[in-house]
Symmetry: C2
Subunit: 352 residues, 2 copies
Amino acid sequence: MRRRLLTPGPVELHPRALAALSRPQLHHRTEEARRAFLNARAGLKRAFGTEGEVLLLTGSGTLAMEALVLNLFAPGDRVLVPVTGKFSERWAEIALALGLSVDRLDLPWGGPIPPEAVARPGYRGLLLTHSETSTGALNPVGVLARAFRERNPEGLVVADMVTSLLLTQVGLEDLGVDAAASGSQKGLMCPPGLAFAALSPRALEALRPRGYYLNLKRELEAQKEGESAYTPAINLVLAVEAVLEEVLPRLEDHLALKAWQNDLLYRVGEGLGLRPVPEEKSPATTAFYLPEGIPYARVKEAFARRGAVVAGGQGPLKGRILRVSLMGYFDRYDALGVAELFREAWGELGLS
Amino acid sequence: MRRRLLTPGPVELHPRALAALSRPQLHHRTEEARRAFLNARAGLKRAFGTEGEVLLLTGSGTLAMEALVLNLFAPGDRVLVPVTGKFSERWAEIALALGLSVDRLDLPWGGPIPPEAVARPGYRGLLLTHSETSTGALNPVGVLARAFRERNPEGLVVADMVTSLLLTQVGLEDLGVDAAASGSQKGLMCPPGLAFAALSPRALEALRPRGYYLNLKRELEAQKEGESAYTPAINLVLAVEAVLEEVLPRLEDHLALKAWQNDLLYRVGEGLGLRPVPEEKSPATTAFYLPEGIPYARVKEAFARRGAVVAGGQGPLKGRILRVSLMGYFDRYDALGVAELFREAWGELGLS
C-alpha cells in the first residue's frame, strides 16, 4: 500500500519536484545548471522576502542553522534563546557547541514567548523559531524582534523558518529578522537535502566567516555567479526551481489553502474532543494532546492501517501528543479526504 | 539534445538510482527507511573494506572531509599534506581553516608522491588523496600510509576516496588508512548530496567530536539504529542502497570494466598524440595535456556538438588539460561509442 505522509516533514512531493528528479543527471558547471541555480536563488529571495541574499547549501536545515550562527557570531558572543520546543532547543545546542555564551530562556513547550522576556539588553543576538514544528506553535517573530532590538540596537535576530517558508507570510526586513534558515523538505514540497541560509542586507554586513564547508562568504562569491563552492545537490536545485515557478505567482492563494487545510484538521481534532498543543497555531502542522490512557502506538497504527504516516511527540512531549500535517502537496479534496480518514481512525479507537 | 556526462562527477546515473529517485517521498522515521539506511551502511562498509563504521552525511564530499578533520584532530595538531592537485590542496585548506598546524608539501600536480617524502616524524596525521580527480592520478595510499606510520606510530592516516570508491580496490585496514571520505555522485553513480565518512576501528577509538552538524559521535549513535541525527537525504540513501545491491555481488567484474573503459580512452587519446597528465593513472578519469595552440573552449565545443559534456583543468591546470571520464553508468558498448566520439571530435579540430 502506498503510504501518504501526514508528517511535518519530509512531506508529499510536489509533482513538479518528482518530474525534475526523474531527469538524467545535470552537470553543475553548465549554463543550464547556472540558470537553474540563479532562478532558484531569485525565487527564494522572493519567498523569504529579502533584498539580501539566499544561499543554497547541500545539507539538512540544521546545517543552515549552524552556518548562520558560525558566520554571524564569534565564540564568547552573548545570545538569548527562548526555548519552547525541540527546534528552539536546537538553537541553544548549536550556539553552545560553537562556543557562544548562551542565555537559555526555558518556557513551557507549545506556549507563547512574551515579548518582555526578550526585551533584555546586553546581547549580540536573539535566536528564534518562527514555526516550532515540535509543538505546532507559531511565534510572533516580528514582535519579538522589535522588543529585542529596542534594547539591543546592534543585536542580530536570527530565525528558524524551516516550517514557515511558503506556509505563512515571511518577510525578513519587514519582520526585523536579519537572517533565517530553511530547507527543501517542508513548504517547498521537495525531498530533504537542500538547506537555505537567507541573509538580509544587515546580516550581509555583519558576516564574519568561519569554517570551511559552512563558510558563507565563499559560498556567496560562488553563488552570485550561479555556481557553488562545492558540488551541490543540483537535482534538488532543479526541483526547488520548478516548485517555486509554480507556487510564487499565486503565493497568496497557496498560503490561504495551507491555512485552510490546517484549520480543517484542527476543527476535526477538536470536534473529536482533542486539545490542541499550541496556543498560537502554525499552519505547518496540527498537534493534539492524546487523551489519558491512549498510547501513541495505537493511534499511529490506526492511521497506518489507512495508509497514512503521522508523527508523535519529541523530547518531553514524546508519547503525549499526535501531529498530523498537510504541509506537503495536497489539494482541497485531498485535505477533505484526510479529514475523513482522521475521523475514521479515531472512531476505531472507540473514543468518539 | 540529451547531453551525456563524460565528466569526473557528477556522472551518468545508474538506472536503479533513477528509479529509486522517482518514487514517492519516504519518511525517514519508518521501518522501511531504517532498513534502507542499515543496508546502505552495510554495503558501504563492504565497499570501503572496513570492519569499522561508515556514516552517511547529507552534504557534499567536502563535508565528509571536513568532518573527519574536525573529529579526529584538535586545533594545533601537526598534520602533513602532500599537495599534487586541487583535492589534496583542499585537505590543506580544510586543516588550516580548522586551526591545525599544517605542513604542506607542494609537489608537481599529477606527479607521484615519493614515500620518503611522508616518512617524517612528529605528525599527528597524514592527509592523502587516493584518486586525485583534478589530474587523474592514483596515489599509492597503502605505501604512503606505511611509510608515514613507521615514523609516526600514533599518527592517523586520512584519505580522500571520493573517486576511488567502487572504481578501484579499496580496503581501509588493508591499506593502513584510518579514515576516508567519499560521496554519492562518483563511483556510486547517484546524484550529488550524500557524503560518506568511513572510520576504521582505530579511527573510532581516536574520535574526539566537535561541532554540531558534523559531530560524528552523535551521528554514530543514531546511525547504529538506522537513524540519523538530522533529517537525511533519504531519497539518495535509497538510490545508494539500490546501486550497491547491484554492484557489490560482482564487484571484481565492475572494477575490471571501469579500468578497461578508462584504459580505452587513454589508448584513444594517446593514439591521437595526446600526452597523459598523471604518471600513475586512476580509473576514475583520463586527463590529457592540450596541444599547444588549442584552446580548451574549442575542444569542449567539439564534444558538446556531439552531445557530450567533458571537463577542463582546475587551478594551475585551467585551460591546459582535457578530462574525459566514464566513471558513471556506461556499459562496454557505450564506452566504445564514446571512444569513437572522442576520435571524431578530435578529427574536427584538424589535428589528427
